[in-house]
Symmetry: C2
Subunit: 149 residues, 2 copies
DNA sequence: GACGATAATGAGAAAGATTATCATTTGCAA
DNA sequence: TTGCAAATGATAATCTTTCTCATTATCGTC
């Protein structure tokens, strides 16, 4: 199912760099995560992982996302709906926020440095150092007034 | 346990205004909520409600907060930790955000109109109308450099 | 390349929060 | 006051996540 000398995914390398034991399952999950550009929950990650290697259990997916999050490899997101969602804590992808379409549930990412510094300043002024920002906005597609019938 | 002609709490009145049947339990929960100025979870609301009227069940507290939220009387908050927390959706109290102390868990409220309009503008620019803002920041008390030993 | 200590895994039980079920009770309009 | 739809209490069910423990795999060492 995998080429003998196939190189590891970026996340698998990170895993090794952190001194974490690189098991087959972790390699698979790391690959799946590196390959994703959305915000899958654990069930969805499990589905994708099984495609790559069927002998993996959902317990291991839960354990691995927790491990990766604790090691700064993954970021946990909460868009409501009761299940955690994950994405790679990517250095070059940069910190970003999320807009959720109220009707479709689609997640749209955005960055805004003005927002970054405003939050930083507000918190500073209250006597705190900013540790984590948990922000997502829900929006509804603007109805464009039609230019004539 | 309650004066015969004691006036209803502001929330109980709201409940009646919305055409919701005003049961004894709802009156009690409404009173407890009106009386709270923090962000209790359901277990905590249940504890407080039982103090007022012991013949109330936690199932009813769950049902009532859901009902009140659906009717715009309550706002559900998520500060992490796995349980929903609630506060009155107060008109004059105004929309606000929350800063959570990373060390103590204490919740500190703040308002900021610049933040309000910045978020509004960002979302607008992306082609959306802002429906809900879910924002909380975690911070750690700034260490004040001591002015001499 | 084999060995062994140690950590990871799989399967399922358990935990914790919330919702559903259903027989009984209650609010409220007539 | 009566009647009926709706609400409640007790508890089962559901859903997500964590835990348990016997088995298996990794990786440093020989
Ligand atoms: Mn920007
Ligand atoms: Mn949550
Ligand atoms: Zn993202
Ligand atoms: Zn608040």
């Amino acid at each position: 199912m995998k080429e003998p000398n196939s190189p590891d995914s970026p996340l698998a390398d990170l895993c090794r760099q952190r001194g974490l034991k690189l098991t087959g399952q972790r390699r698979t999950i790391a690959f799946v995560l590196s390959d994703s550009d959305d915000h899958p929950d654990v069930e969805e990650l499990y589905r994708r992982a099984v495609e790559v290697d069927p002998r993996i259990s959902i317990a291991t997916v839960y354990r691995t996302v927790r491990l990766f999050e604790e090691n700064g490899i993954l970021q946990r997101r909460d868009f409501g709906g009761g299940r955690a969602r994950y994405e790679v804590a990517d250095g070059d992808h940069g910190d970003h926020y999320h807009l959720i379409d109220a009707d479709t549930g689609k997640v749209i990412e955005f960055e805004n440095t003005e927002l970054d510094s405003l939050l930083e300043g507000i918190v500073r002024q209250m006597g705190y150092d900013l540790v984590t920002t948990r922000l997502s906005v829900v929006g509804r597609r603007t109805v464009k007034p039609r230019t004539r019938g």
